[in-house]
């Protein structure tokens, strides 16, 4: 029973971090209908921004966080304005290829700017684990979860109550209607890319703080893909629920099945659950069902 509780708590903690990175996918898809395959690299670049601010410039953690948000927003803005805007109206496959190309470019840039050496931050959180009864949660995981959840809640509030959030929701709902109501749809695209980049970058800082950073860190972005598909590509609530489901499933399956089969179940289990859920709900748990009438 202790083991199950331990696995559940850790699963929830890691699921929260997954949810934040998944938000990076969802925010962009929701507003622009583009699946950004460079989300993992946005995450990696965010971690390097943090490294630059904290280690190279020597700023304290909170200003470093703020700097990451500003720089990531600018990166999102630049990518949208300089690249994606010119792809409007192009076939989906071309846009997908552009984001895949972008991921390679960002990885190459990271190698050039920060080198290929492994880097790590100074400790951000107290070293001591969090102990709840018999359950132990590692410090980095617990604090990572706290930061991720605060960020997710802030994003949710922004969407619900801020003017820009309402405008983004309107754009996502019906671009033509939003346009006719005076919303600058193009600006909403830029805002979506900037917010998506911020979410991914903060996820990158949390992951980087757990294991260190390298230009290949973005590979974790693909691991988040089941989370996004599971929750529904265009649903913030879906990203959060999907994150928790994947975190729980991989932990429980890993904890109970890995010892019997020699490992590997932990990484496989989320995909099995993904397939099962998609068989029942092809648009994900909270995804918008597109109906096209011919």
């Amino acid at each position: 029973m202790d083991i199950l509780l331990q696995l559940i708590v850790s699963g929830i903690a890691v699921g929260g971090v997954y949810a934040l990175i998944a938000l990076g996918f969802v925010l962009i898809y929701k507003a622009t209908s583009i699946i950004n395959f460079a989300t993992g690299e946005f995450m990696m670049i965010g971690a390097y921004f943090f490294y630059t601010a904290m280690v190279m410039i020597g700023l304290p953690p909170i200003p470093s966080f703020l700097l990451v948000m500003v720089c990531s927003a600018l990166l999102g803005l630049f990518v949208e304005r300089a690249i994606l805007r010119h792809m409007l109206g192009q076939p989906t496959i071309s846009i997908v290829m552009v984001t895949i190309g972008l991921s390679s470019i960002l990885m190459g840039l990271a190698e050039i700017i920060w080198s290929t050496d492994f880097k790590s931050f100074p400790p951000l959180f107290p070293r001591a684990p969090i102990i709840i009864g018999d359950i132990i949660v590692r410090s980095n995981l617990f604090w990572g979860f706290v930061v991720a959840m605060i960020t997710v809640i802030l994003f949710a509030l922004l969407f619900k109550y801020a003017k820009v959030g309402v405008a983004m929701r309107a754009t996502a709902g019906d671009q033509m209607a939003a346009f006719s109501m005076g919303i600058n749809v193009r600006s909403m695209f830029t805002v979506a890319w900037s917010l998506g980049a911020i979410a991914a970058a903060l996820g990158g800082v949390i992951i980087g703080n757990m294991g260190g950073i390298q230009p290949t860190l973005g590979g974790i972005g693909l691991k988040i893909f089941p989370v996004v598909i599971l929750g529904g590509l265009d649903s913030i609530a879906g990203a959060v629920v999907g994150g928790f489901i994947v975190g729980l499933v991989e932990n429980i399956a890993g904890g109970y099945l890995d010892p019997y089969v020699g490992g590997g179940v932990k990484d496989l289990a989320p995909f099995v659950v993904l397939v099962l859920i998609l068989l029942i709900k092809p648009y994900g748990l909270f995804g918008k069902e597109d109906i096209e009438r011919l």
Binding site: T116, G211, E250, I252, G254, G255, D258
Partner: protein, 394 residues
């Protein structure tokens, strides 16, 4: 007319200079290399490349092989197998090398049939693969140190000699990545452990760069091993496992093989690195009592005055260069021309080679790998010897 004569004169001079240059180049012993200078292995590739280049340059400074110099020609492959294979074929066609350095286990395995049957050149690489060191299958290949399996063997030998509780068989867990690199030594290690009386109580498997390792930690806690050996990682998730194990109250001693014995990992571990152990085939940069390290430091002082540290991947490159030079010198000493087949025949004849403290006393005995390493322990951010050289085939 005068200008025509001047032009012809200049052309003739140019031809003579180029001709002399080509003649000189033809006289060199060519070593080609496909180096992963960019891409996900570049963190090590650039140091391996520098170590190999420096080792060969040092050999040339020492007069080469009876005055015949080595020529090192390399290309970046971005750690991309297709690029590496294409680069190898292009370089072989262009330079006709007698030795080559490969970027990965993958490249070695992909090229092995053609190297053995067609290209006939001696092949060293970044790899510590058991398969590539198999002399019967791949006589042209050598591994610059013990294979991963042999590294596990060395660690298990150390563990068998250092039980945590006297009179009780030591227990060990293997913690490896779900990759070919991670799985490579495990079957051998299981057998070796049985032979040495070490009990394997758990095998944990994760993806490289796994974010959460709680389930593996809980399994480790269930089995509470005396030792745990990592394989198939570079840094993550090792710091998380070691810290997590401490949080869970485990007294396990964690160990690693070549790639997990780096300064990068110790830097990331900080104070938790004290007591982390593992096997390395070479001496470290700061072991200045080792004669070969003194030579390396002196070479770097003269050629790279800004360099303050060279990692273990640099040492791998340097040692591979030493092997190339050794094989060429052996050919020359026997009066044989320096060709791929002759160099290949020298590999099994390397016996009791004193590497001046750098990699023990090296013999390529039963396989084309050195089967020797030293166990080191992390202390204050450095790896210090915890054992003497441990020979698996003695």
């Amino acid at each position: 007319m005068k200008s025509l004569r001047v032009t012809l004169g200049l052309l003739l001079t140019l031809c003579l200079v180029l001709g002399a240059g080509m003649a000189l180049a033809a006289d060199t012993i060519k070593i080609t290399a496909q180096q992963p200078l960019t891409g996900r292995f570049a963190f090590a590739g650039k140091h391996i490349h520098q170590g190999l280049a420096d080792s060969i340059a040092y050999a040339n400074e020492q007069g080469g092989v009876d005055g015949q110099k080595f020529e090192y020609i390399y290309e970046d492959t971005g750690y991309d197998l297709k690029r590496a294979v294409a680069s190898f074929k292009k370089m072989v066609a262009k330079y006709s090398p007698v030795m080559n350095y490969g970027e990965s286990t993958g490249e070695g395995k992909a090229l092995a049939p053609e190297i053995n049957s067609r290209y006939h050149l001696v092949y060293g690489s970044t790899s510590f693969s058991q398969e590539l060191a198999d002399r019967a299958k791949n006589p042209y290949f050598f591994v610059s140190g013990p294979t991963y399996a042999q590294q596990f063997g060395i660690l298990l030998k150390y563990i068998a000699a250092h039980p945590k509780t006297k009179g009780q068989a030591p227990t060990v867990a293997f913690f490896h990545s779900d990759t070919e690199f991670g799985r490579d030594p495990v079957p051998y290690a299981r057998e070796m452990a049985k032979k040495l009386g070490v009990k394997v109580v758990a095998e944990e498997v994760t993806a490289v760069g796994a974010v959460d390792i709680t389930s593996q930690l809980l399994d480790l806690k269930r089995h509470n091993p005396d030792y745990c050996i990592f394989q198939g990682y570079v840094v993550p998730p090792i710091p998380a496992v070691i810290r997590g194990a401490k949080d869970f109250g485990l007294k396990t001693t964690f160990m690693g093989t070549f790639w997990t014995m780096s300064k990068m990992l110790l830097d990331k571990l900080g104070a938790d690195g004290d007591g982390y152990m593992g096997v390395m085939p070479y001496a470290y940069w700061y072991h200045t009592d080792v004669p070969m390290i003194k030579i390396i430091q002196d070479f770097n002082k003269r050629h790279h005055p800004d360099v303050k540290y060279r990692p273990n991947s640099y040492m791998q490159g340097w040692f591979t260069g030493m092997v190339y030079v050794k094989l060429a010198k052996m050919c020359k000493a026997k009066g044989l021309p320096i060709t791929g087949p002759n160099l290949k025949n020298m590999i099994p004849q390397v016996k009791d080679w004193d590497t001046q403290g750098f990699a023990g006393i090296v013999s390529f005995k039963h396989s084309n790998a050195t089967a020797v390493g030293k166990v080191y322990i992390g202390k204050g951010g450095k790896f210090m010897p915890a054992s003497d050289w441990i020979y698996l085939d003695k």
